[in-house]
């Protein structure tokens, strides 16, 4: 408790990851699913940065990977939201339960 080590950060990363997983599985709103994806990516980022800091073999490799993941996640969120908006314009709903036909 007095010394915060690698395992503490890994636990926070795992918790965020699992929260994102439940978000992706249970939210009926398509944007809720996107929110889950962002949570998953943030959990993975915390893992990367924690290993980069606490494992003596790594130096900045984990942080570089986290930076690339942040950039990629921003791009993916943009494209996913464009798809969701298209779906909403065509079907007038964002309910993923209604998206059964794979039609945009």
């Amino acid at each position: 408790m007095t010394e915060v080590g690698l395992n503490h950060y890994l636990f926070v990363g795992a918790l965020l990851f699992v929260c994102g997983l439940v978000c992706m599985a249970t939210k009926r709103n398509a944007i809720g699913v996107l929110i889950g994806v962002e949570l998953v990516l943030n959990g993975a980022n915390i893992n990367f940065v924690a290993f980069s800091r606490f494992n003596p073999v790594f130096e900045i490799e984990g942080m570089t990977m986290a930076l690339l993941v942040i950039v990629m996640a921003a791009g993916e969120a943009a494209v996913a939201l464009a798809i969701v908006l298209n779906f909403y314009n065509n079907h007038l709903t964002v309910d993923v339960d209604q998206a059964e036909e794979l039609k945009g």
Binding site: E3, C19, K27, G32, N42, P56, T64
Partner: protein, 284 residues
Amino acid sequence: MEWQPFLFWVIAGLTSACALATVVTHNIVRAATWLLFTLAGASGLFFLIGADLVGAIQLLVYVGGTMVLVVFGVMLTAEGPFISMRTSSAEWAISASTALAFLAVLILSFLLNRSGRDPKLADEPVYVFAPQKNLIDPDEIANAKTSPYTMVIGQGFAGVGVGPAHRDPNSQVKVIEKKDTPEPPLADPKLKKAAIDDLDVNLKNLVRPGEELLPPPVKVDEKTGRPDTTGIVRANYLLPFEIVSVHLLVVLIGAAYLARARRPETRVERQTDGRNDDPAEARP
């Protein structure tokens, strides 16, 4: 009380609580807000670890960019029935139980990790074919006034070699080939000390008490007594940087095309697309 563990518990607790609130709430606008706080909390964790650049980029890109996108999406699609959509209890039960099992697997994976050498092989000497000295001394990180990581990351993206060093196979230096029997450690204490000093300063901390870190069989320059570092190359992160730049360009163009403004008649045309017309009537 030490400030660092206290800050960790506060920030990690807030981040976890906000993440749980994101999952539990059924209102999409509130979920987006809780996600905003979760991302800000993750940025705080990055700053606490010492990764200033990653924390700052997280605030800039995630909180300032991606969250704005998500809020835009929520506002454009948030009409009456879509703000608060509930899932059935059966789905909640299945998802929660699966997620808890997965969380248990994740936690056990890093709690039960026993890294180390096989104790049955304790008599064999261990040669650390290690990368050469790293650029950042871990003892200085705790006392540094500014984070040394930012400069190294910036240099890495610009093309300066910052990764773990390895020997260039095309260099002129002839590395000692690995023989069947392990070579004895260097006899001359001065050469041995020089070889050990050039080792990765971080790997020296991996030696357990009672053990000795044997130097790798590298070629030692006779004139100076230090290991020969000709042909040592370090990796950089210039190529991933360029690939990500091109990828962002493609994403920008793709998202702009996908979300382009269309004629307002499109929706009206869709709603009256002739579904109820007489099939015998020919279309123009």
